[in-house]
Subunit: 415 residues, 2 copies
């Protein structure tokens, strides 16, 4: 057809997903090919079991809300934006939260709140592809919409813990830190740090990435030694500064619920309140949390979330919401790190879905084609068995049987 | 957050998919919200049962292959193309076939052929949105790759029939026409019509859209009355012209297999060979078929496919392939037309997947939250029951129970 040979590489930073069974290669690259469907299968299993239902939105959005909402990189140099052939400024969504907000706003009066919704979809950001980051990435957006702060914060938080459990992650392999935006405000106010709020938030947000000394120095640039130590002691959970923070937290019902849940389940080692969880520039309005890999060489955030009662503000509507949006790659890196992908084949449900009983059919002559399509296959289908057919009747039968076994057939029928 | 209220409409020609259970509205719009997941659920069920496995590729592709392969509208004014921030000319894929070709070419030596592969994904074309067409549409790409013409043509053809059956479509609601690109060439050659080949193909391709007289006139513009009648009689399956066409078809093993399958299953009324199936500009190389709605007011093509042994030519590789790519909207229009969506709730598997046993939990006091999360929910999850929680303990219990029933709960537990 064409004289020119075109490159068959996927667009830089995007990924093709090959079916596991088709690849002849070592297990390393098999993991890479299939991990995503495994990860999201586990997500879906947990979410559907807990009353969440799935929706979906288009990958194309108007650029307007991203420019207005996020500004900065997300609405700017990281945005995959272009002008369509009708002159509309559109983009490939860089995140899923705005799409769910738009969908809810669009049918606000026709929806039965509260919503327990999730979607699993792709997003695009123009970044340098690196470990744990690619230009196209897949995220699950998980939200409870329409419930004020209270038990729903705990419900969502438990969902995130159950997702970690579903992968077989041991408690000591990760830690969960939580905090509250309004508690932070109270703390700033009571200590008369209002003028330094932005600077303090920035240092707290970055705290886990620097060592103690560097953080101290940054605080002492504008705070007294006493105030600096007060912050450090709160972070280190010692003395009266920490007691004060803990006391302030009692004002928020959802923090009491989360704290009691952790205590009742003896999870205090692994899950704790701390002022260093800020969740950056994102517009959270209450409870916030983040899950980190415990590997000291690999101290990354897996995902986080929280309450954002301003979800629909851009669309002129008001509704409370709490949610989180874990991506595929950080979860994959965590699972790989703790060798939780090595035995994914042992997960029973995963096996049933992906490795049903497959029968290999060795056709001995073309005359058998009707027996194949009219008798054998309908029979197999009715028994919930799937099949693979070798039509190559001129070839050696033993070779053909072996080939079908290699392709995953558990049983061979000669026809 | 923002003073400006942004429109919450989806980008023109794209669709949001709301979960069925969340919508308070009439059944018409419910159909529209949920039909796609139902349609593709049925596709998947048939395909997985018949040994096909799923893959997935990115929505972004280089524009190069589309410009080279398709030219015309698909590589031009219909293409959603743009330049990324690194200067690469990319597009949102207008079809899925090129992506699967690229993926196979990219791992050509690492794949275990034959492949029975499918993907279900979105494509974009800049067109005026209309009935059965939108700018974003979803397609299933279904291929057998690595098998020469023969039983695999019949296998794929049977898959397409089984998909129609899976929706409960009656035999008289659609017809299936098939043909063969090389048979057409033989026919043109034997009748000495080589100089008119392009014009004849064009008229045949358009035959079903015009009446008999108009088609006759178009042929008589360049053919003798005898030749014109020869073509018409072949199309109308009468006299020696039709016998000649039928005889020519015997040269192709796959046509014999398909014909015998139809005869053995008494499907001749519904499924037949005809020269009017051309499949337009597409690069088929052998067996081709197309399925049409039988409604005289709505005489549309649902989908079609065939053999394209040139699948990987653009990437400098050679491999035989046969496939088809049904879209969601034409199938939806057909199902709506024949009232096959009215009782989608009756499909047992669909019900099991989408309507599991849901328990409504009425929380009587906040103190019960731990009993809820530590006892009741783990217990329900272990029984494969899903749940919905009403935390609103200050509200009237009867109202709360009713509300949970409306939200699809089959059973109410007060805690």
């Amino acid at each position: 057809m064409s004289q020119f040979v075109i490159s068959s590489n996927a667009y830089k930073g995007t990924r093709d997903f090959y079916p596991y069974e088709s690849i002849i290669t070592n297990s390393d690259s098999i993991d890479l090919q299939i991990y995503q469907s495994y990860i999201f299968y586990k997500f879906k299993e947990t979410l559907l079991a807990r009353g969440f239902i799935e929706y979906s939105s288009s990958v194309i959005e108007s650029i307007e809300p991203f420019v207005k909402k996020s500004g900065g990189d997300l609405g700017g140099k990281q945005l995959y934006n272009f002008t369509d052939k009708g002159g509309r400024d559109i983009c490939l969504r860089p995140e899923l939260t705005l799409s769910v907000a738009r969908m809810i706003a669009n049918k606000f009066d026709n929806l039965r709140f509260p919503l327990r919704w999730f979607s699993i979809d792709n997003c695009f950001r123009y970044e340098r592809p690196q470990k744990g980051r690619s230009r196209e990435f897949w995220q699950a957006e998980i939200d409870i919409v329409g419930l004020e702060a209270g038990p729903s914060d705990l419900e969502l938080f438990v969902v995130s813990l159950k997702i970690m459990e579903s992968f077989g992650a041991k408690e000591n392999s990760y830690r969960v830190m939580y905090n509250h935006r309004l508690l932070l405000e109270d703390w700033i106010q009571i200590n008369n740090w209002k003028d330094y709020k932005v600077r303090i938030y920035k240092i707290l947000d970055n705290w886990l990435k620097l060592d103690r000394e560097s953080n101290l120095k940054l605080l002492e640039e504008f705070l007294s030694v006493e105030d600096t130590m007060k912050i450090v002691m709160t972070i280190e959970k010692t003395g009266s500064p920490w007691d004060e923070y803990l006391n302030l937290s009692k004002k928020y019902k959802e923090l009491i619920l989360v704290n009691d849940y952790i205590t009742n389940n003896n999870l205090n080692e692994n899950i704790y309140l701390t002022p260093v969880i800020i969740r950056g520039q994102e517009y959270y309005t209450g409870f916030i949390f983040e899950i980190f890999d415990n590997d000291i060489n690999n101290n990354r955030s897996l995902f986080g979330g929280g309450r954002f009662d301003n979800l629909l503000d851009l669309y002129g509507k008001k509704i409370p919401a709490v949610g989180f949006a874990p991506g595929d790659l950080p979860v994959f890196e965590f699972l790989k790190n703790w060798k939780l992908l090595d035995n994914y084949e042992n997960f029973e449900v995963w096996k049933i879905v992906n490795y049903p009983h497959k029968v290999g059919i060795v056709l001995s002559t073309e005359n058998k084609v009707f027996q194949l399509f009219n008798d054998l296959i309908p029979n197999l289908v009715s028994q919930n068995k799937t099949f693979d057919i070798d039509y190559d009747y001129e070839r050696n039968t033993k070779k053909r049987r072996e080939n079908l076994m290699k392709r995953g057939c558990k049983e061979i029928i000669e026809l």
